[in-house]
Amino acid sequence: MVVDNKSAVTQTLLDQLQIKSSKVAFMPDAEIISAIRYLEDKGIPNNKHEDYKYCNIEAVLRKEFKSVEQAFNELTNADIAPLKIDEAINLVVVNGVYSEELSEKMIVKGLTVNSLNELSSSEKVLLCSQAKSDTDALIALNTAFTGNGLFLQVDKNNIIPMPLHVIYVNSGNANIVTNTRSFINIQANAEVTLIESFYNIGSAKVFSNFVSEKFVGENAKLTCHTFQNEGALSYSVNTNQVRINKYSNYTNNTFTLSGELVRNNHNVVLADSNCEAHLNGLFISNGTQSVDNHTLIDHQMPHCESNELYKGIAKDKSVGTFNGKIFVRKDAQKTNAYQSSKNILMSDDATINTKPQLEIYADDVKCSHGTSTGKIDTEALFYLKARGIGEESARKLLLQAFAQELIDKIETPSLQERVLHLFEKAL
């Protein structure tokens, strides 16, 4: 039989993962079987795939993950301590598996934290309803080989008084591929701030394939901060599949500070009227890094609002991509949808790709999008220097000013400090 290169890479990965993964109880067999079938059929995407044009996952797997050792490290409290956030309840997921031992135990009214195997039957019906294997090969890969990840729920009418901080950490001794999954359910009238941090501890290369399904109930509010600092040995795809309900409010602010390849798929369905979604992102990339933010905002019902602001600073030979799709369906009259992407190129070898895509099927809507990519403002630079400020600090002042409005969105002081510190270090 002749196999082409594409299916060869996928098949090698599937074979290795099939030997080295154990099946989780919560994922129905039918989902696993159709996920594998989809993968075998479509393969891991390469740059010929429209959605992965600037993010060749297949090439990464071929080059960096020829052999998948799955040599996982055990982690201790000492490893996790520096990653924690003081103001928050810290929850830990190691190599895709929720660790009750490393997570902080605190009894908070209306809050459930558990592993996915403990998913209650009422929630189980929602599993895979937003993250569908037949829409994306990385979702399929995660579904087929997912670990026993995190189940988090806020029961209706509860406001969680402190932020929840989920530390997703990978750690291996030799090449590992992790398929981390989380299921977040914020019921009606509930409110919580969720910080999701991503780290890689150790000296091994990690391909991290994360999928999170998030549900925001009627009149509920979910504010998320995604903090990505996985380092030069990490290649990650992070997929958020979010469904928000009537009168609800969903916000995500994603800060990407390191990672050799970081692909974020952030897909939000505004499933009922009068809800709002805010997606923001900031990245700074250097070396040969690639940061690729893909968003999809699906306006299905009337009187909803969405806002997107993505900013990036690309240094050296790094590549930044923003691809923002907005659907306004036939019934979604009176939609307000705004999208903006602003980028600064710090070197002639850096690249920025931006692509806004608006598909509007309703007639009474307000939509706007704008993208800009340029070099640092030389007029402003000269003005600062003419006042005695050196070239280096003048650049830093301007880049900080560029990023400030996004960093200001973080309401948890120690997270804000962490982002600011790493951002300044990367300048």
Partner: protein, 253 residues
């Protein structure tokens, strides 16, 4: 203070300054006048260290140092200040943070310690009063959303904060109403001393009623074509530039 000898500067293959000679001593006020496009802003930009221009000939000595060898920031640290004709808006950088950084980098250059926050804020208060700048503007982003007059006053406020040896005011009077003009001029006069000097670039004689120059120079097509005392400014105001233009245009052809 500053000695400019045979300064030539061009942008691309267009020569804009074509042999400027000028000496300004401590304690003096010089005015440079001249029609639009004669090179006044170019001269101030070249002195401040804007890199878009190529200096093709000539030299500039500033307090014993070769000015043209220094990067823009070091010129400022040596005590040169340019009040921009078109101050730049810098969203996201607060006026205060900007000035604190500038002041402390200048101090560091001279081996001085950072100014304590309390002293700095007291200085901000004192100097903003000098130009009657609304204290709210100090905490806003640099020049962002400022009116034309506020921008110009902000320039003089910065000058007061940084206390330069040589200040070049590039058309600081343009776009100011008479009250704002008086405020700006009073500010400049209060900052004047026997140890510093001012070059006032202007279109109109009106500013010179308030800031009285010791010398007036007429710049035309990149050269100083005429110098004199303060009466020269009055003469130009009365007669306009046509005579000078005609005289030098005929010389050139």
């Amino acid at each position: 203070m500053i000695t400019i000898k045979n300064l030539h500067a061009s942008i691309g293959d267009k020569e804009i300054l074509r042999g400027i000679n000028l000496e300004v001593k401590a304690g003096e006020v010089h005015a440079i006048m001249g029609p639009n496009g004669s090179g006044k802003s170019t001269l101030s930009s070249v002195l401040a260290g804007r890199e878009d221009y190529d200096v093709t000939e000539g030299e500039v000595t500033f307090n014993g140092k070769n000015l043209l060898d220094l990067p823009a920031e070091d010129r400022a640290r040596e005590g040169l200040f340019l009040a921009f004709q078109y101050p730049v808006e810098i969203p996201g950088v607060s006026n205060i943070n900007f000035l604190r950084t500038a002041l402390n980098e200048i101090r560091a250059y001279h081996g001085q310690e950072e100014m304590p926050a309390k002293d700095f804020l007291a200085l901000v208060k004192e100097k903003s009063k000098l130009v009657e700048l609304d204290s709210k503007l100090a905490s806003r982003s640099v020049n962002e959303g400022f009116s034309g007059g506020e921008k110009k006053r902000n320039e003089i406020f910065q000058m007061a904060m940084l206390n330069p040896k040589l200040a070049i005011l590039d058309e600081t009077d343009s776009g100011l109403d008479i009250d704002a003009l008086r405020i700006v001029a009073t500010g400049v006069n209060k900052l004047k001393s026997k140890d510093n000097a001012t070059i006032v670039i202007t279109h109109y004689q009106r500013l010179l009623d308030y800031i009285v120059p010791d010398f007036v120079h007429i710049l035309y097509k990149g050269r100083i074509v005429k110098s004199g005392g303060k009466e020269l400014a009055l003469e130009m105001e009365a007669k306009g530039y046509d005579e000078i233009k005609a005289q030098f245009d005929s010389l050139e052809s």
